[in-house]
Amino acid sequence: MKQTVVRKILAKAVGQSQVNVGDVIEPQVDLAMSHENAALVMNQFFEIYSGLNAEPKVWDPNRISIILDHRVPAESKKTATNQKKIREFVAEQGIAKFHDIRGDEGGICHQILPEMGYVLPGYVVVGTDSHTTTHGALGAFSFGIGATEMASVWALGHVLNVEVPDTIKVIIDGEMQKFVSAKDIILHLIGKISAQGANFKVLEFHGSTISAMDTSGRLTISNMSVEAGATSGIIPADNETLRYLREVAGFTGAFEPVLPDNDAEYCQTVHIDVSKLEPQIACPHTVDNVKSVSEVEGTRIHQVVIGSCTNGRLDDIKIAADLLRGQKVSKNVRMLVFPASSRIYREALELGYVADLMNAGAVVMNSGCGPCLGVHQGALGDGEVALATTNRNFKGRMGNPVAEVYLSSPAVAAVSAITGVITNPIKGGY
């Protein structure tokens, strides 16, 4: 009894009836995900095996997923060679859940995992990417680790020395105003509890707003939980999770949702009423520097970016297309849209969203992470300002330490692309 979701998942992963906060355990891993940094993981994996009289072999090729997304297609010979080595490793080891640079099944790792049905409620998921918190939206305990730690998982199948984390309960109630979305809720929460407010802890989300929210919005909330320092952002599985797994991910099997005990012990409870929440914006250069959009209205912008693992799903692109249909992106703004997966891109094409966006002046790029972290396309010039639906605005994040990045929802980003300045869609009569 008294168990939170993460404690229940971890207890099962070590074959015990319960675990306590602070226990040191070695949970079995259900899914281990890497992107291009699999090249570094491979290096460390072979290092573990060096001097051992044994053939290097991953513990279970069916439980490893590798997705090329950070620099796609490769921007340099170095990246291209790393990607080539990853393909060779995938073939040698028989890694099943591999997604190459393709228009049929490629995309950003944190979108591919849910839409392919690779993550189920109750899973322990690790990924060599901090936004691995995303998959908590499906009721999994999903957290980011470094490349060496992943090499250890590839070798052994469990994560060494995990300390059972404490849990903060976040209750979100109220009906959101038009143009207010999951992104605004999570930005507001990060601003409220700070960038370190959940360090070493898990956020567990409850409340009527979460119950009514679809999985796309939930993925946004879990995705950015890490920006409050959280190890994971878990939304207990419910009927919506089942609907998503059936309708979107094509999952036909059964699963048992992991729910917290009625008397579950939380270290803190945060209650948020979103009925009066305005669109939020994270201002340079920290994600917890959150304000209402009204407070920074009129700020001149040079680039708008809509996409990423945070807000690059079909509903995000639809919001932008609806606002931009028949309108024009300001002559002073470059608008870049990068869908979170090739599947979303194709759906956006079929529904006419891509044409709407292009006719307005936006550039629709292939699916990938590039502009979000300044590694591949979309870099900012000196002194320029970007408004992005991505997840981080740290100094230098979009490739230039003397540029600024603001973070918002797709609705705020889209109307601001038209006006050329940060604009509140609620006031604009859109």
Binding site: E36, N37, N43, N82, G146, A195, V375, R392
Partner: protein, 166 residues
């Protein structure tokens, strides 16, 4: 006795420690030159100093927040520095321990560049100022890894047990 070479503020992100544009670099030995590449003074200080001499960088809260990129830790290993911070972000701390970067959690550390510090098991003594600052010991879960010399040798031990080889 070790010298503080730089003092950093709160919330130093991995984008500052190791910019994303250098992430195609794979081997830990390739990374040190890019440490703090967007903070030119610190970058030049690190690249100009001898790695024979261990030195200290002092930071505030939430050092290493942001991405899971392990290069943010390996780049500092290559400069033979110790990081004393008020607190660290989880993934960075884990990477540091896995890779053998010495990290010390010292919530009320007060020191600036040029100060000379003495590091004990339970406290940091600032000899320049004559002040003492308690250390929060590493989480127990992590100490076994440090004692084994990092996560690679630690995993190798576990793997030998699993495969039944000596």
């Amino acid at each position: 006795m070790l010298k503080v070479i730089y003092k950093l503020e709160d919330d130093i992100s991995t984008d500052i420690i190791y910019p994303g544009r250098y992430m195609a670099t794979v081997l830990p030995t390739e990374t040190p030159q890019y440490a703090f590449d967007d903070m030119k003074d610190l970058n030049q200080l690190l690249n100009g100093k001898s790695t024979d001499e261990q030195s200290i960088i002092v930071a505030g809260n939430n050092f290493g927040c942001g991405s899971s990129r392990e290069q943010a830790a390996s780049t500092l290993v290559g400069h033979n520095v110790i990081i004393i911070a008020k607190d660290f972000a989880r993934i960075f701390l884990q990477n540091a321990i896995n890779l053998g970067l010495r990290t010390i959690i010292c919530p009320d550390i007060e020191a600036v560049a040029g100060d000379v510090l003495e590091i004990h098991d339970d406290k940091v003594v600032n000899q320049t100022r004559g002040t003492t600052h308690p250390i929060i010991p590493l989480p127990e879960a992590r100490r076994a890894i440090v004692e084994a010399g990092g996560l690679i040798p630690y995993t190798r031990l576990k793997l030998k047990q699993k495969l039944g080889i000596s």
